[in-house]
């Protein structure tokens, strides 16, 4: 279902409201819901009737479309920037013509809206990055991006909750456990939250990593 044609906070709100409703009040036959920036994909049980399900969802959309989505929380994400933890920060220096210090400063001053979680478990699609930090993806994607990597791709920034292949520019790493396998609905970062990054020292990183068991 397309709920808009571009990336905007108002479209996000519509999708977020609808999805929150569908998660709390599951529809028979819908097995998975995939939010996007401007759309929502429902996957159905093999025996579900597609036309009936679409009708039910459209009715729900009519009902909820003027209601407000739940209030997201502000999540502070500590990041050890640069060095071995953010191996591509020099690429951002190169493309942005800003100093490393300036890049870190700009990256952590914004609040980023979590448009949705997608790609891999718990991966937040964050909106609102300073466009001066825009850096194209690396030429050859890495086979394994370390868990907790904070990265930039084009005009977007994100966090890798699990080790995975990836082509984003790594600028730092968080010691926090982003995705909670034993209680996934209560993972640290949820759709609709705001994320703020905060630069930390190596010592602080190690300390937090130990206490988080990440």
């Amino acid at each position: 279902m397309e709920l808009g044609h571009k990336i905007s906070e108002s479209t996000h709100k519509k999708i977020f409201t609808l999805i929150t409703h569908l998660i709390r009040n599951p529809i028979h036959g819908v097995v998975n819901i995939h939010p996007g920036y401007s759309s929502m994909l429902l996957t159905l049980d093999k025996m579900a009737n597609i036309d009936d399900t679409i009708r039910v969802v459209e009715n729900i959309l009519d009902v909820v479309q003027n209601s407000e989505p739940p209030e997201g929380k502000l999540v502070e994400v500590p990041v050890l920037y640069g060095g071995n933890y953010g191996k591509d920060i020099q690429r951002v220096v190169q493309f942005s013509k800003l100093s490393e210090g300036e890049i870190i400063q700009r990256h952590q001053t914004r609040n980023y809206l979590v448009y949705f979680l997608g790609f891999s478990p718990g991966f937040p699609y964050l909106g609102g990055m300073d466009q001066d930090l825009t850096t194209p993806r690396i030429q050859t994607p890495r086979k394994r991006v370390p868990q907790g990597s904070v990265a930039i791709a084009g005009g977007q920034t994100g966090i890798y909750p699990f080790p995975s292949p990836g082509g984003w520019n790594l600028i730092g790493r968080t010691p926090l456990k982003i995705f909670n396998i034993s209680n996934p609905q209560n993972s640290l970062i949820q759709m609709g939250d705001k994320v703020q990054f905060k630069s930390i020292s190596k010592d602080k990183y190690e300390l937090l990593k130990e206490s988080n068991g990440a």
Binding site: I23, V31, H34, T43, F116, G118, F162, S164
Partner: protein
């Protein structure tokens, strides 16, 4: 009650019907690559639908049974011996404690399944036993089986009777994969779509449970090369910038940015699960109503197998 892995194959994992209900958190369902064969295997040993079995890929495992068991092998034919004697596929078989089951190379498709009465009993992660290898969730510590792993069997509810053998031949022809129009179908000119269906594609080495990367006719689209990031279903055929199709498979990304030209029909997903690197096949366009009918027919067939 259980078995021990004496030799691990190329990529063996514990699989079930998938981890449903978490796509909005970025978690794709995973589950058996050839879901049909796993379900039939469960019917053959009298398990409920959701029981877990072992999925083997290209080269199978060698096991010692630590207890009596009742098993079935399904999926593609692999070289398989029980105490050095060939053991048939697609039928229930009694195993005595101490017997050794040796499953070697495939003779046909990519995957075979071992189902055991009672199912493979491991802890559920987010409501399922399936291994999601890409993110290391579920199964045996999120990884492939290795030598000396021990797996327990569950206890069986007596209400379901095993089906000794299936009468019909149930192997599928992997040379044709049927698809319906994808959400970005109109992004592609008629000429490009003809190219997509005209010739065979080859499955490359860069193919796994997450996706199958293909080589063949290059498909260009008339619009931008990327869409606004949106949900991707199982079986979506994406056309990235280089024009070579990718079939998103059981461990697929929940969202992505490449246009989707077509979707593999549900009834043919089992065939995709049996494709291996180097295999050639051709896409064939079919209607939504035909796809729906083929899916329902497949479900009916599976249900009817209970009462053979």
């Amino acid at each position: 009650m259980g078995l021990e892995v004496l030799r691990a194959g190329l990529q063996s994992t514990v699989q079930d019907q998938g981890r449903l209900g978490y796509a909005h958190l970025g978690v794709s369902a995973s589950g058996a690559a050839d879901n049909f064969s796993l379900r039939i295997g469960n019917i053959l040993v009298g398990n409920p639908k959701q029981s877990a079995g072992i999925e083997m890929t290209i080269i199978g495992d060698k096991y010692r049974f630590k207890s009596d068991a009742y098993i079935a092998l399904t999926g593609s034919q692999f070289e398989a011996e029980l105490d050095n004697k060939p053991i048939p596929f697609w039928q229930g078989w009694s195993i005595n404690k101490g017997q050794i089951l040796d499953i070697r190379s495939t003779k046909t498709g990519a995957r075979c399944y071992l189902c055991v009465a009672g199912g493979i009993n491991i802890e559920d992660v987010m409501g399922a036993k399936t291994t999601h290898l890409t993110s290391g969730i579920g199964g045996t510590h999120g990884r492939i089986l290795k030598k000396l792993d021990e797996l327990d069997f569950g206890t069986l509810d007596d209400s379901i009777n095993p089906v000794k053998k299936l009468n019909e031949s149930i192997t599928a022809d992997n040379k044709i994969i049927r698809v319906t129009k994808g959400i970005q179908w109109l992004w592609f000119h008629k000429k490009q779509k003809n190219k997509f269906f005209q010739h065979q594609y080859r499955v490359t080495d860069l193919s796994n449970r997450m996706g199958l990367r293909l080589i063949g006719n290059t498909i260009n689209n008339k619009k931008e090369s990327e869409i606004i990031t949106a949900g991707i279903p199982l079986g979506a055929i994406q056309i990235p910038g280089d024009g070579q199709p990718i079939i998103s498979f059981v461990e697929h990304q929940t969202t992505g940015g490449y246009p989707i030209i077509a979707n593999v029909i549900s009834a043919d997903l089992r065939k995709v699960g049996q494709l291996k690197p180097g295999d050639y096949f051709q896409f064939e366009l079919t209607s939504f109503s035909r796809a729906e009918k083929l899916k329902v027919d497949q479900e009916k067939f599976i249900h009817s197998s209970h009462h053979d």
